[in-house]
């Protein structure tokens, strides 16, 4: 599954560069949303046909929020350590990590500070999404199903959710959705907040 995903994304990127005309760029947003809507419909069917799942989630209770919390801490710690090792400002690195894979928003927010930082946020977070898409089937199989949510970050509720749902089960798909919603709502607050310390 991972290899198929990798090849498909790579083929898409290559045909975007070499085959399709640039004028197509304007309508891509619509097609991505349409494709996503269709997939999320299937994820919904999957969740709905597993009866009793909401009860299970309710039994987990507030502990479900530990997942987005740990993903948030891990993401920020990860870029901060990598940044320090590469001789970058710790605060700026932390702010890039707080994009949690939501590349458009974190890049816009950080390009207010410098074009370089905005671009870095963009590249980091778009790489995160692609690596998540490719690695999640492996992580679900060899590390753990709940851990498979971690790479996705904020995209655990939309673009990466279909891959998580397919690699795990409907139960994890709901936790993934909740995780994505919580992380996505943290990005617009956390990125500017961290930059206050720079």
């Amino acid at each position: 599954m991972s290899l198929t995903i990798l090849i498909t994304v790579a083929l898409g990127i290559l045909s975007g560069i070499f085959i399709f005309p640039e004028s197509l760029g304007d309508s891509m947003g619509f097609w991505i949303s349409a494709g996503l809507a269709l997939l999320l419909f299937f994820v919904g069917i999957d969740i709905g046909s597993n009866r009793g799942i909401l009860g299970k989630i309710r039994r987990i209770g507030f502990k479900v929020f530990l997942v987005p919390l740990m993903v948030a801490l891990g993401s920020i710690l990860g870029t901060t350590l990598a940044g320090i090792l590469m001789g970058m400002s710790a605060v700026e690195s932390a702010a890039v990590g707080a994009g949690f894979g939501w590349y458009s928003l974190s890049a816009i927010e950080l390009s207010k500070h410098s074009a370089y930082l905005g671009t870095l946020a963009f590249v980091t977070n778009i790489s995160r999404e692609i690596i998540a898409l490719v690695s999640i089937p492996f992580i679900a199989k060899y590390i753990g199903k709940l851990e498979a949510i971690a790479p996705a970050g904020a995209t655990a509720m939309d673009t990466v959710l279909p891959v998580i749902s397919r690699s795990t089960n409907a139960h994890i798909a709901i936790i993934s959705f909740i995780t994505g919603v919580v992380l996505s709502s943290m990005v617009p607050v956390l990125v500017p907040l961290i930059m206050l310390f720079s």
């Binding site: 990127i13 290559l14 990860g78 709940l146």
Partner: protein, 96 residues
């Protein structure tokens, strides 16, 4: 407000699935249909990345740095979730 649309569509799907309103024939093939749709979406996402010259150029300049950042945050996120996994999924993650 795409997010509201997504939530509405998922709830609609969940309702149909819960009430067994999807024909059995279709339910059997739903995995395959879903995977093909996923591949189509991933292809489109790839195309939109490839079409954006700015993106391609920025990958050339600070691509390695960004990939290291991405890998590092993914690894630490996985470790973070691993630490609490037994609290959230008591039966070691296998709950069907």
């Amino acid at each position: 407000m795409n997010i509201l649309l997504y939530i509405a569509i998922m709830i609609f799907g969940a309702f149909l699935g819960n009430r067994r309103l999807i024909p059995k024939m279709l339910m059997k093939k739903i995995d395959t249909i879903q995977f093909l749709c996923l591949l189509l979406l991933l292809f489109i996402m790839g195309v939109s990345i490839g079409l954006d010259e700015e993106v391609i150029q920025s990958f050339g300049t600070i691509g390695i740095q960004g990939i290291i950042f991405a890998l590092s945050s993914i690894v630490f996120s996985i470790i973070g979730v691993r630490l609490i996994a037994s609290k959230v999924l008591p039966k070691g993650g296998e709950e069907q």
